[in-house]
Assembly symmetry: D2
């Protein structure tokens, strides 16, 4: 079992011309917010969610704080209060507005935030037009990958915001949805199983590798795997209906203890956003639609994914298993594509291009059995950006592969996403192993 360069990802991730890359990434954020009203962009529907206008400002603050202030010639802050308002969690940078109170800020409004973005963009473009030292270029690339992560968060968050409204409004006009069946070439029924030998494999990213990677993907290191099989497709809504019809949400023996407690406390009986109303419907970014049995199931927690796997007589793959398989596949799937956001078909709520058969990437993030922990020899970056990933390495599980709300070019085989086991508002699904 081997791979060329598993951390290389999509060539577009290299963002060769920094000015072009900067413009493209920044433009997509604005495009995603463009159909949302001032009111839409202000609401925070739960502590985990941030208002759209906050995402627009925070991604801008990132460049202002980590690039322009230390490295921009004679850069002047747009507003000295914004450091307090739009710092997310960087303790080293100073005090910040409480996360759960982001929705209490009516001001600055969207017009001021648009002006803030223009102010920072102008300074960034001036800086990028000049020769930039490697250290600064690295921070810019980090800022762009950071903004891509917030693009997905923006989509996750506005979906949650709109779902709290009994009018069930759509984020955008409906477009045709893609069926997994179109891609994997068959309908319901058992997934196919593909066997792998296991043995001693290397996973993770070389620190010195080309292209971009987050600190949590390194270092590359050896892991021993027993032989295993991986399903050739994610679990679908049709599969999930089978679990539900077999009493999946009412049988304690299928659940982890914390999961069973959560099922009872939250009254879960279906994935998040599903509604029972003359059959099962699902709230999507296009409004309420019938559940499509052939689509990958989405918005399930780790607890649910784990219970489903137990019910199916299987288990979730470890992240090492997943990565070992993915390293041999191109990073192709349904991603959020800024080049053609509108005409493309829709899979699981977002904007996506054509999908490779048996792809591991795109559509839905796949829960793994692995807790989110540092790789052996993991080191954080010096300074405030060292807080980016490392300090969250407890009480979370790893997800792999990306979703149709992940910007194209953002993920790669070594990419590690992570959420708490009870979390459901990400575009999270699963694939079985055994």
């Amino acid at each position: 079992m081997s791979a060329g360069d598993p951390s290389a990802g999509d060539p577009r991730s290299d963002l060769v011309d920094p000015s072009d890359a900067y413009r493209q990434v920044r433009a997509l954020t604005e495009e995603l917010a463009s159909t949302l009203s001032a009111e839409d962009q202000t609401v925070q529907s739960m502590p985990d969610v941030s208002p759209t206008k906050w995402h627009r400002a925070h991604t801008t603050w990132f460049f202002e704080t980590f690039v322009l202030r230390p490295h921009g010639h004679s850069y002047r802050d747009f507003d000295p209060h914004y450091g307090y308002l739009f710092n997310s969690y960087y303790e080293a940078v100073g005090a910040r507005h409480p996360r759960a109170q982001r929705g209490l800020l009516s001001r600055p409004g969207i017009a001021e935030i648009a002006a803030y973005r223009r102010h920072v963009d102008a300074a960034m473009e001036a800086l990028l037009a000049a020769a930039t030292p490697a250290e600064v270029a690295d921070l810019v690339v980090l800022g762009l990958h950071h903004e891509q992560q917030h693009q997905e968060l923006l989509v996750m968050d506005i979906k949650h915001v709109l779902s709290m409204n009994p009018l069930r409004p759509a984020y955008r006009e409906p477009r045709p949805r893609l069926r997994v069946a179109d891609a994997v070439g068959r309908g319901a029924g058992e997934p196919g199983w593909i066997g792998y030998d296991g043995g001693l494999v290397d996973i993770g990213r070389e620190r010195a590798a080309g292209g971009f990677g987050f600190d949590n993907e390194s270092p590359r290191h050896a892991v021993h795997l027993a032989p295993f099989e991986l399903a050739d497709r994610p679990v679908t809504c049709g599969d999930w209906l089978g679990f539900m019809e077999d009493g999946g949400y009412t049988r304690s023996e299928l659940w982890l203890s914390d999961g069973w407690y959560t099922v009872q406390a939250e009254g879960w009986c279906a994935p998040s956003y599903w509604l029972e109303d003359d059959g099962w419907q699902v709230f999507t970014l296009n409004g309420v639609q019938p559940v499509d049995a052939d689509e990958p199931v989405c918005h399930v927690s780790y607890y649910e994914a784990d219970a489903y796997a137990r019910w199916a007589g299987a288990r979730l793959p470890t992240e090492a298993e997943w990565e070992t398989v993915a390293a041999d596949h191109p990073v192709e799937g349904h991603f959020l594509d800024p080049c053609r956001p509108h005409p493309a078909p829709i899979g699981t709520d977002a904007v996506a291009g054509p999908r490779a058969p048996r792809a591991l990437f795109g559509d839905v993030w796949e829960w793994t059995a692995s807790a989110y922990l540092p790789y052996p020899g993991f080191e954080t970056a010096a300074g405030a950006v060292g807080e980016y990933n490392g300090k969250f390495m407890v009480n979370q599980h790893v997800l792999r592969g990306g979703s149709s709300a992940t910007p194209v070019g953002h993920v790669r085989a070594t990419y590690r996403n992570f959420f708490p086991a009870s979390s459901r508002w990400a575009f999270s699904g699963l694939r079985l192993a055994r």
Copy 2:
């Protein structure tokens, strides 16, 4: 001790021409919202607070539900979902959106709510242009007094919303503030005390009296009062600083047990909206300003008012004492005046005209020692509007007199406002008795 017609109030409260009155009241609501952005109008800063746009819609829903739907010829609802979204607490009218989640509704936005108001206004003006039966006219007048109450709530609520923003933004451009000293003709020091004989007095409103009154003001009934004295002015910020300097917030013996618990749990050490920053400042609708020792103290809870009175060797008046004195005074004071909202001086955050000496009305609501309970023989109206006042008659205390955010013409000597003992976001102050 006697009075002419203590429930008569300001002649403007009679709202003689219903069409004129309707237009004036509705216009003031829009005027109050006019400087607020879409973002400002969307935020809910605590469960007690409602977003500005919700107030604009709910007051409209009141006319739609209680006047137009039963009595408007061929009236068509603007949107069938609005009944669910904008019902406040009328159980008899059906299910409704949870109060604490009003801030999660980005839609309908302010443009749609403006259209809703125009739609209902057009139907109302058509209805009022025709001869209206007394029953309908009474509901219209109730709807207008209801909207006036929400005008004050709108001002209270947006003040709280803006106060949660670390930028401390102003609601409107600053204008000069009025000092109590201007009105009562002297500065700090002891209030004057005016004695009253007590005896058997009548308070409350005759059910058959002319003009408008809420159901909770009736019936008129006899109460026996011991002789008492009432201060000739409300307690000022200067008085309150004396209480604070004497350890008022740290001396348990001054406090009711529930009050002392609240002081500790909430960390109260000054009235709400006061900030210690190079001396005491106060957040107002005009932004942060120095505390003015001669202004009536405002935004204090019943617990604080009660503790202050005990510290001062006095007590709060009962509502019967207050009303008996007020019945002999004209309803003059600093009120919210729609005819001259802009050029007038400012007392305690709002828009006010000149103030009568020793006035009992306007400036700040005055906590009384009386629990909010039904008068002997109290009866609620039939139907849903019977829920207007009666069902809140427990766990609250009565306030009297009106504030500078109360629309002129809205209050009268018999008017009973009420809030829980811990509440501070109303424009609530106090006056001593002994």
Copy 3:
């Protein structure tokens, strides 16, 4: 309408010989605890409840703190830590163990607390054997009435503790229960109504009156009453079943808003301690028994009492109405009688003697419509005992009359008991007025 001495109460309340009185009261506390195990006496089932052994110690601490320490010659504290552990709420006496954590104290155990009682009793009896100044005698009498209040609390609290046990254990061996029908001479059906003229009446207790009274019963003062009628018996369980069968707990229009919220939040569908199991059963101090339709209903909150009265087309009496009627009646009813605790019949869980027809006293405390507020001219005592009653005068309602767990001789016509409107663990019922 007049009365001899409405505050005189039962002659036994005068406690003429202080040593006898002291011994009798202290012995009853021990008798009440005598059948309870060490484990029973340790548990605290909710923050409002105190463990039995805490009641035994706290009543002892009261004598130690307010009598022996200031007035006992060369008295030595039993244990210097007990001041911290057994102070209930007297801020002036110093810091104290948090109320909600009384059940976390396994030590001192019941043997040490018995020794503490003996230590204090010996010192008290020595003190009482000498001539005691009036000031000290007054504190002793206050301590005895205080202990009588805790006797009822002890019974209320242990009932709640035992009710949390799924074994539903009995406090004592079952004895025959008394039926209201036995006393008032008839079965179910409408209560009789007795009319009163109203007018200007005096209520409350003269400060200089003989015998004992709490500070909150004074001063005597004039109140004006409209003519009214009072039911000749409390509401029974049979009456209450009618309310339940008519949907009483599901009809929002019958409830105060806070009450309706509480009904939903708590899932109330019957009085506290009622259990549906092959018909309605009730958990009593004698274990689970069938609901007796002729007994006074008990363990209902103010919210429920108020809703019931509305349903019945009546209302609750004010405390002034209740007292005016009671002043003409002897203080006779079913009380907790230390002279014959065992052979007597049982009404509503406790130990009671024969019951006078139409009695207002005993059986159950009766909720009144009156908020618990100071009487005009109310003054607290100087020093720590001034915290006894006054600081609780907010957010509570007054109950009158006493229950079968109230020690005989403890109540009188002017006696004011009080609980929050949501409280159900007292022996609280109601009587209608109109």
Copy 4:
């Protein structure tokens, strides 16, 4: 790197004669409870803690439910309600009393629970006197290891219960404490570091191995380790004081994000049970004592252990690293020894024998960097006992090695203990790796 039989543990764990083993284990539980009063045994100080008498009953219920009811000839339940009261978390066995309400049960009292234990013991001894099928023998051994786990829980829990009492009572009479210095042969200063080669190692327990092991220790499987060093002693209180003096609890950069949040929310500034009072003191089972710099630090959470390691420029070992080293060491250390509970010296609160130099076992459980997850190929047992371990495999971290409150013979190199990252009431410390 290799090992003989790393899962063999102490020979006493084989419990060769089941009757002897049964008697010994059961007797130790009673011995541990023997100095506790009925009151002590009743209190539950937080939801995670169980009352002593509950532990005594629950361990008995385990034998009744899993051994006697299915396999005991004509066994009759002691009380049919006990199944509900004393089931801990076995969903398959039916409903159960809520965990957080175990402290509300005053009955059954300690006398009844003693009788329950005798009843079950008699039936068990009869069963064990006969030839028992292997299946039953396995359940008996499981029940004994289960009871040993509860012996440690009983000690942990009563320590927490007593610590909530401001009297700070001792569990037992003080005895001399052991210093780590006595064992490892030197005082404060840097630990020694011992290097290991890493490579491909096997950890975990063969399913078919002799002796006893829990299901979560299997199967044995290969793991790849990079070369590493492990400290030759646990972190001591003296080390920890250095961390505290260097601002360890106030420097966000040392902490995981969840840990930092917990530090602030809980106000942590030292290990649990430490008290600042004329220098640092610590509450122990022998009462309050000065902190001993040479003792292993105890009652720290995973968050604190992780922050300490970061501060020290090291990390926590993984469980595979720990086990690989431990497999070569005898299972010797300070354990709870039923053969000489009284005269032995005391280390970290409990009863312990002499300690081997550089021992990995006993004294304190050592947090590892490993999340508690199933080993590859993990399988739960069929039936209710399958709930024993597997359903807790999320949101916890593994601890290794045992404490001075772990019964001697209970642990082995493959043993996996686990607690949530915020948990502090276990006897949990740490050892550094790098």
